[in-house]
C-alpha cells in the first residue's frame, strides 16, 4: 500500500502507482475528468507532449512541496506526486487554454471534413466541436501540400496533419525499418517518406489507426462510404503475424474496411497486420463475434439497429415472393 501515491483530479482522489502520468491517472478514474489527447498514445513509447491539448492545472505540487506549478502542464508528460492536486475541467484557465490550443491546431487544418474519410471518428473534429470557436481568426494563407501515396494502400494528406508524431513512433517501434519521418522544422515540418519510398512493412497499416486526424487514410477505403453509414462488427481470425482481433466495417453484405479495435480513448487494443487490414475483406475469412459497441454520443452509433442482419421479409415466404412477382409484372406492363 505504501508504494502507492494519492492524487486528486478534479476533486476525485485515487491511489495510483508512482511514476505514471497525470493523464493515465485520470484515465483510471475515467469519465469527464480525462483530458483529451491528440498525440499521446499509451501503446507507443515516447509519444505525447506535442499537441498540448491535455494541459491541466496543478494546484498543489505534492505533499512535501505544496506550491502550485507555475504554468499549465501537459498531463501526458507529467508524473504524479504524492498528494498532488490537479484541476482539469474544474479550472476555467484550463478550458480557456484548451480552446486556444484547438484554435491553433486548426490554423493550418483545411476543414475539409465533408471530403475527409476520417470524419465521424476524428479526434480533432470531436475536440473542436467541444471546445472550438465556429469562426477562425486566422487571416493568412494556410499551408497546403499535395497528396502523397505511401505505398499503394496508404495515402498521406499532409495538409490535414497536426504533427502529432504518432505515425513516426509506430514506424519506429512496431515496424522494424522506418522509411518515413518528419522533415523540416517548426512551421515547415512535414511527414514524408524519403523519395516517397513505399512502406512495405507488414505492420505499416497501423499508421492509419493511430492518426488522430485524416492525414493518413486507407486508400482501399477512399471515398467508399462515410463511416457512420457502415456497421462495425467485431471479428477475429487466425493470423500468423498478429492477434487477428479486428473490427470489420460493413455496408450491407460487404466489408468496406478493417481496422483495429479502438477503445474509449481512441487507441487500438492490438495492432493488426497489413494482411488482416487490406487483403482479407470477405466475411468468410473472419469469425464474427458480434456488433461492436459504439458510445451513443458518436455519430457512428446513429441509425444502428439492434440486430446485425435485418429480418428477412420476402426471402422466406414463397407466397409473398409469388405475390410480389405478380405485382411487379403487372406494374411493369404499363
Amino acid at each position: 500500500m505504501s508504494d502507492k501515491v494519492k492524487v486528486t483530479i478534479d476533486g476525485i482522489t485515487i491511489e495510483v502507482e508512482p511514476g505514471i502520468s497525470i493523464l493515465n491517472a485520470a484515465r483510471q478514474i475515467g469519465g469527464d475528468v480525462v483530458p483529451p489527447a491528440m498525440c499521446y498514445y499509451s501503446k507507443l513509447e515516447g509519444s505525447g507532449g506535442k499537441c498540448r491539448t491535455c494541459l491541466v492545472k496543478v494546484s498543489k505540487g505534492s505533499e512535501k512541496d505544496p506550491r502550485p506549478m507555475p504554468k499549465l502542464v501537459a498531463s501526458c508528460r507529467t508524473g504524479v506526486m504524492d498528494g498532488m492536486e490537479v484541476q482539469n475541467i474544474t479550472s476555467t484557465e484550463v478550458t480557456e487554454a484548451r480552446k486556444g490550443i484547438v484554435e491553433m491546431l486548426l490554423i493550418n487544418h483545411p476543414l475539409d471534413c465533408p471530403i475527409c474519410d476520417q470524419a465521424g471518428e476524428c479526434s480533432l473534429q470531436d475536440l473542436s466541436y467541444e471546445h472550438g470557436l465556429s469562426k477562425t481568426r486566422y487571416e493568412f494563407e494556410r499551408r497546403t501540400f499535395d497528396k502523397i501515396d505511401i505505398g499503394d494502400k496508404i495515402q498521406l494528406h499532409m495538409t490535414r496533419c497536426i504533427l502529432c508524431y504518432r505515425c513516426v513512433y509506430v514506424a519506429d517501434q512496431i515496424t522494424n525499418n522506418r522509411v518515413h519521418g518528419i522533415l523540416g522544422r517548426g512551421d515547415a515540418s512535414e511527414i514524408s517518406t524519403y523519395i516517397e519510398k513505399a512502406v512495405d512493412n507488414n505492420f505499416s497499416g497501423n499508421v492509419i489507426d493511430v492518426c488522430p486526424v485524416g492525414a493518413l487514410t486507407d486508400r482501399t477505403f477512399r471515398f467508399k462510404n462515410r463511416v457512420w453509414f457502415t456497421k462495425p462488427v467485431d471479428a477475429h481470425r487466425d493470423c500468423p503475424a498478429c492477434k487477428g482481433k479486428v473490427t470489420l466495417w460493413y455496408k450491407g453484405e460487404e466489408v468496406l474496411r478493417v481496422t483495429g479495435r479502438k477503445d474509449q480513448f481512441g487507441e487500438v487494443e492490438d495492432f493488426i497486420c497489413n494482411t488482416c487490414r487490406f487483403e482479407t475483406k470477405k466475411t468468410s475469412n473472419w469469425v464474427i463475434e458480434g456488433p461492436r459497441n459504439i458510445v451513443n454520443t458518436s455519430v457512428i452509433a446513429s441509425n444502428h439497429y439492434e440486430t446485425l442482419k435485418p429480418l428477412p421479409v420476402i426471402e422466406t415466404s414463397q407466397v409473398l415472393i409469388d405475390a410480389n412477382k405478380v405485382e411487379f409484372d403487372r406494374a411493369t406492363k404499363i
Binding site: D112, C113, P114, I115, F223, W228, F229, V299, A331, I334
Partner: protein, 161 residues
Amino acid sequence: MDQKPMNFWERMYFPAIFQGMAITFKHMFKKKETIFYPEVEREFSENWRGLHSLKRDELGRERCTACGLCALSCPAEAITMIASERQKGEEHLYREEKYAAVYEINMLRCIFCGLCEEACPKEAIYLDGPIVPADYLRKDFIYGKDKLLEDPIASDLTLNI
C-alpha cells in the same frame, strides 16, 4: 310506416327553393376558388418546401461533395448516395475532390422536412422545387441526379481548367 300529410308551411316550399337558388346564382358571378392544377399553380409561400434540387456553383460545377450529412439527418432515410473521386480534367464539373456519382432520393419516403437542406455544409441541396408529380410506378419515385440536378448554366460562363 305512415306518412303524415304536410302542413301549410311545408307545402309552401317555393320560397325556400328561391332562397337556395339565389345563393347558387350569386356564386356564379364570384371569383372561382378552384384552379386547374397542373396547368395553373398557386403561388407558393416563401418557406415552401417542395422537390429537391442539387445546386451548382457560380461556375456551373456541382456543389455536392457526397459528405452524407443529408442522408444522416434524414429522419425518413430517403437519401442514398455513392461517392466518387474527381479525375483530372473534371475540375469544371465538380467543385470538390469528391462528388456524388449516384444521388437518389426516394420521394415516397421523403417527408419534406427540410433537414437535409439545413444539414448541408456546401449549400448544395434546396427544397425549392414544385410539388412532386404523381406517377404510376414506385420505381419512378426514386429521383436520381438526372431529375434533381440543376440545369447547367450558359456555356460561356463555365470554367475551362
